[in-house]
Subunit: 537 residues, 2 copies
């Protein structure tokens, strides 16, 4: 079996990472901001140094060909890409490593694996690209006897394309680039580009309610799902391909965001779009972030539906090279496969001018590649490579995102920023940086995304990180936001999710899980507590 | 308590009905098509002739002020507005009448009513406007000892308006006109106009996944819900007001379409829109229905998002006076509160011309009120008054709707039409009429809506209707469609819903109901079978 050799520590494939230029840029910024000296820092962990317990279960002969117990496979499936994941890995702690990693080739394999896990009382962790930043793929045994991770990468094909309805049947293990490559010859695109695009999968996007790169309309994966197939311990659940329906609560919406606790999504019919031919884009400067937000509120309620309308606060713009730190930036873009978009763009720029926004350059067709917008976009896609490097130098750097209705946004912003800054000072004894951008906007509110950065202290990084992140999320929940707009809940967000989730919905979800996964094999402790101890014997 | 005096038989308020001109028009059409002579037909039922069993339960003193057992209240809550409802009422059969009708004033009243029902082992039917055409409000006792209907009409206020986020907190019992009247002074609109608008409620729309008048984008009620409060037998389930979220499966989406089996929706924060200021509209003629559908496919995938883009087949256009019966008609309209919509309209008309469509008149701002589009709209809103009149003359006339991806639409259309026509011939011994229009379109497919009409025979109407409708729905399900796009499942669509719904989703829904309504009080037999007999004693 040939598998791409992903790093067991860090982002992407082995051999990939920050370029020397990117490292220069990042450390220059850190130096200017915090006086941090560039240094090699702690060494990255080496596979040969990692001690893993002996596997507690052995696959039967029928499953052995799709199962692996090599140190590489187990180490590479111990963690996602969250800050504490990197931290523990850096310390050589791979305690969560699964006993066995399986790579099913089809639904029958998944069903057989679930049957085997049930017999062995093994907890099962579904695994897509492993890009979770919330502890969503970390195995936990809980009351079970072993941990089996099921990695869908061998199920990555585009199986069928319906050009007329613009839809495709795609296996859940398809990574972003492979999926888009298969659609491209047909002039189609899923047009779902999360930051993790290159190293995340369709099934992962659906299970975690992923948000795409685009800012309005059909961007949340929820709206792109036409139908689903999910393999549960009780059998396959398949919904009908329908553009819309009024027949009872949506079966798909129960599975979307279920984070692997109800079953393993095996394939989906996805709604596609024609590849854009017309574009207009610009970067617009605003005096401050709230002025940009007010302009964006008008645009989001205008019915213009830009493909892109992110705003960055001045510090965030500076950090990514998109601005000089004195003004907020709106990255604004329209796209269409059908018609020129100038009327849309000019009206949106009018809305910006009404709120003091100045377009950087005349709207240009290639603005999405050039200028501030282009610089920001490049920085955005390369960002995940930064953490594995800076963490070695004790930099604490993490993000969290939420969504909130417009009338509460400014209050939420100020509360979250103040609470996070105070926690940084208390945890590290120095001033840090908390920046904000919008990743998505809806007519009724934005999705603000916060980034915090501060130099911490080796040996205390986990507690320092936890104190800061907790303070930020406490403020998000207190201000009425959601604990996550598109990063999912996983294990790290559970305490805040529990405060946000209606208790009776928790009871209903618990009951639904009991019906589909009576042994509680799948991702125990994710989203909800195990219903009860697994049955004895 | 003053309550609007709705008809206990027929549509709307007492004293309302077809105008003499509308009656002339309808019977002229029926005469030309079927040779039906206009006649008085059977008399409408009279309240004083109806025999109702004595109520099997008596409200406690604390609830007596909000409960009614008068014959009018009980008769007016026996049925919805489905064809067999009218038929049974015409025959004086009011066997499903609830024992008691309650009109709660607040959530505490609802909770007290549910507690009382639990103690009495009474089945509970939530009731909005009672406009269900699928048996959704018909009480069934099943294993229970009595039937209590809870009518939300006293909870009809708009409680709070958030202008900035364009959202309002609205009680579930709000009827369409009252709700819009409360929003209008703020320049806002929910812009959700189902055909039943005047006589249906927000809670009913949400519980049944209603579709609005508008054809694309934010039209399905699912997308307009920002958050919900639902009173279940286990307590109140309230979700957060959020423009978007990625935190686990959506709690709202479990309640949307739950048709009263999980709880009684008491209020919702709803997403609103600015009232439109710019309009362009036209009616476009096409050689045939499929040519119109092909043009519409292109428009639906163009990103133009017209407010209206319904198509009517030639017979349907003729029936409503919108066309002469020789061509299919597309009713096309754009609206905006923000910007002139001419660029949108001209591109959509180009798409029509590419498929042989000829605009009836130059696109005009008042086309939504005048011309073929205006004639059709008026006919559409008045249509519900027709049935109570024509059924008395033994006319069988009903509708059903579905949704299907584009590539299967033509096949579905032909299969459904042929099956329904054959069933009409077999059931009545003569040729009937089956027409089709689209009510909504999505980028991946349309929502076709079928109407069938044929003169039947008094005394056999129920079996004739059932045979025809069953044949139509059999074909819908066989061709891959949904049993309903926006009429809901209720009791009449259950057999076909059961074929469409993934069995394991049924199990999950059953489990969720057990968690929220352990006694199975709410709408037993709607969507799912009762889990078990209600507890004894």
């Amino acid at each position: 079996m040939t598998k791409p050799r992903f790093k067991f520590f860090g982002w992407g494939r082995e051999g990939e990472g920050m370029t020397p230029e990117e490292e220069d840029f990042a450390f220059r910024r850190l130096g200017e901001r915090f006086g941090v000296e560039r240094a090699a820092g702690l060494p990255a962990p080496r596979l040969e140094d990692i001690a893993l317990r002996a596997p507690r279960i052995t696959p039967p002969a029928s499953l052995a060909p799709i199962c692996a117990t090599a140190p590489y496979d187990r180490a590479a499936h111990s963690y996602g890409k969250a800050y504490p994941d990197y931290l523990r890995a850096l310390q050589g702690d791979f305690a969560p490593a699964p006993d066995v990693v399986a790579y099913p080739r089809n639904e029958a394999d998944i069903a057989a694996l679930l049957d085997w896990a049930g017999g062995e009382q093994a907890a099962v962790t579904p695994f897509g690209g492993g890009s979770s930043v919330v502890g969503g793929v970390e195995p936990r045994v809980d009351g079970h006897k072993a941990a089996l991770t099921i990695d869908l990468r061998e199920m990555g094909a585009v199986l069928e394309i319906d050009r007329s309805s613009r839809a495709a049947r795609i296996q859940a293990g398809a990574y972003g680039p492979a999926l888009e490559a298969a659609l491209k010859p047909h002039g189609l695109t899923l047009r779902h580009f999360p930051q993790s695009f290159e190293y995340s999968t369709l099934g992962g996007w659906i299970a975690t309610r992923s948000g795409g790169h685009f800012a309005t309309l059909y961007t949340h994966i929820d709206d792109l799902v036409e139908s689903l197939r999910t393999v549960t311990p009780k059998g396959v659940l398949e919904s009908r391909r329908l553009p819309g329906s009024g027949a009872g609560p949506s079966p798909d919406r129960l599975m979307i965001g279920s984070e692997g606790i109800l079953g393993i999504i095996s394939e989906a019919w996805m709604r596609l779009q024609d590849r854009p031919r017309f574009r207009a884009g610009s970067a617009v400067r605003f005096r401050d972030f709230f002025a940009a937000a007010r302009a964006l509120r008008v645009i989001s309620q205008s019915g213009l539906y830009p493909a892109n309308c992110r705003i960055l606060d001045p510090e965030e713009a500076w950090n990514t090279g998109a601005g000089d730190g004195t003004s907020a930036i709106m990255v604004l873009g329209f796209e269409s496969a059908d018609h020129p978009v100038e009327p849309w763009m000019s009206r949106a720029l009018e809305c910006c001018r009404d709120h003091g926004g100045e377009a950087e350059t005349p709207a240009a067709e290639d603005a999405h590649r050039e200028g501030a917008a282009g610089r920001w976009r490049n920085a955005f896609m390369r960002m995940p490579y930064t953490r594995e490097r800076t963490i070695r130098c004790a930099i604490i750097n993490d993000t969290f995102e939420t969504a909130i209705t417009w009338e509460r946004f400014e209050t939420l912003h100020d509360l979250v920023k103040a609470a996070t800054e105070a926690a940084i000072r208390q945890a590290t004894g120095r001033a840090g940086e908390v920046t904000c951008r919008f990743t998505h906007v809806y007519p009724d509110g934005p999705a603000p995304y916060f980034t915090f950065t501060v130099p911490g202290h080796h040996g205390r990084l986990l507690e320092q990180w936890q104190a800061i992140k907790s303070a930020g999320l406490d403020a998000v929940i207190a201000a009425g936001g959601t604990v996550t707009h598109h990063h999912a809940v996983g294990r790290h967000h559970r305490p805040w999710y529990d405060r946000q989730r209606p208790p009776l919905f928790g009871a209903a979800l618990q009951a639904a899980k009991q019906a589909l996964d009576p042994q509680g094999l799948l991702n125990p402790g994710v989203l909800i507590d195990p219903a009860s101890a697994p049955p004895a014997g």
